[in-house]
């Protein structure tokens, strides 16, 4: 057996490429399609009546099915938020920006949303906000159809009205 090579091969590159083509599922597909019409849909728990946005097929809490789709408003209240100062992978967005949980009117859980058209320091729990949609001919039926949420100027919502919808 001869000597091992003086210059061993130290590295092997393995490029892994795994493409995925996801099924949206009927609930999600209807939700995405409705965004094109400026409608936001949720699904309603058959047992408790809680409304989940975006729609899911069952309540993770009660375990009952949530087959019924209902429309919720495109406005609601900031339940909690944070001010992001570091860049995010895969998105081009001006720093700092506000990422918030927004409980839409009619929904029992919050969605995640960008808050703009105000100073980050002005954002607070209970602040009333409304969706800013892409123009009619630009909406595709995906999450970017809502560009962001902005303050409406209405009085803040009282904490009791959203504390269970964080």
């Amino acid at each position: 057996m001869s000597e091992p090579p003086k210059e061993p091969i130290k590295y092997v590159d393995a490029d892994v490429h795994l493409p995925y083509h996801y099924v949206a599922g009927d609930h999600r597909a209807r939700y995405l399609r409705a965004l094109k019409d400026k409608k936001i849909l949720g699904s309603k728990c058959a047992k408790t009546g809680k409304v989940f946005v975006p729609p899911i097929i069952n309540s993770p809490e009660s375990f009952a099915p949530a087959d019924e789709l209902v429309e919720v408003a495109d406005r609601g209240v900031v339940t909690t938020f944070c001010v992001v100062n570091i860049p995010v992978i895969g998105r081009e967005i001006e720093l700092p920006y506000v990422a918030a949980s927004v409980a839409l009117d009619g929904a029992d859980i919050s969605i995640f949303a960008l808050i703009q058209e105000c100073k980050p320091a002005d954002v607070r729990m209970g602040m009333r906000v409304e969706a800013v949609w892409k123009p009619d001919n630009e909406r595709q039926g995906d999450h970017e159809d809502i560009r962001y949420f902005r303050p409406t100027g209405e009085p803040d919502a009282p904490m009791e009205s959203f504390i269970h919808r964080l």
């Binding site: 092997v12 393995a14 892994v16 795994l18 493409p19 995925y20 083509h21 996801y22 099924v23 949206a24 599922g25 009927d26 609930h27 999600r28 899911i56 097929i57 069952n58 993770p60 809490e61 009660s62 375990f63 099915p65």
Partner: protein
Amino acid sequence: MSNITSLRNVAVVGFAQAPIVARDEHHTAQEMLFPQVRRALADCGVERSAIDYQVAGSSDYIDGRPFGFVAALDVMGAWPPTQDLHLEMDAAFAAYYAWVRMQAGECDTAIVCGYGKTSEGEPRRLLNLQLDPYYHAAIGLDGLSTAALQASAYMARTGANDRDLAEIAARNRAAGARHPEAQLRTPATADELQRTPWAVEPLRQGYVPPIGESAVCLVLAAEGKAERMCDRPVWIQGIDHRTEMQTLGARDLFRSAGAKLAADKALAMAGLRSARDADVIELSAATPAEELILCEAVGLDARAARPAINPSGGPLVGHPLMLTGLMRMGEVFHQLAGRADGRAVAGAKRGIAHATSGHCLQQNLFVVLGSERRWT
């Protein structure tokens, strides 16, 4: 070596399965699972709150997301906060884990779930990535080619030929035609299958399964609860899992030492001398060569009428990868519980279910099931 003389009697009391399809265009993996969990519990006459423990087997690489398995929590029922386990393996191994926890007295009832939409990614690519990245993955081996290597080695050793494979495949296709949830539901003769082109020689396209997707939920319950959840509980009498080496080239591919040992241990735990004492056996054989190798490992003639081999049609008629082994357990349950309409093995009181994982039958799990309790 354990000298277990008495274990808890644990039974399979329910099993629900979605049809195996090439692609369900309307439901995500979790949305496919939810109705099966609901149905399995409803068939047992219990609410989710009656279940102490939940386990699942699936692959994040099939889901396409690291920790993707957590998405199933909400459709398995995770409120109030629950004990849960996920295995990156066939869901049958998760059933074994639940059984072990029941032996420890930590739970009396469990649901075992399997799910995954193989259609959303490229399973053949995944099975390539599962191999050693330096020597094996780099040359393009995948699940089909490693299975072909094993088939070739077995045929060289035993003299088994193309016709032998065709006849086993034909038997499975005939059985699949009687199974309402199989993906391949048309029978095919050995002649027809022998005329299919090579997939990877010596395996013809007619000898390898379509990779499909489905969702399953199996319910386990210990003695004391099992009797209230099922009119004919199917008791686990023996169970064992063995793995072989990872280095593919170091293994004897022409036989399955791991399957033999796991089967011997499971049969011994069940108090049986041989697999011939069973009425039905469901093997997770993805090719007819694997079926022959497994039959040899457990001491069965692949052509014998009893035990009936793969009355479900086995993986050849539907192979959703991470669910296949649990489906074998589910089939044995249906057979022994009198719920296998249209394909019932008459008078079946004892059955064996097999699951595998890894290339070339690397890991093997055997479960011996019966209509009677093993331990008193």
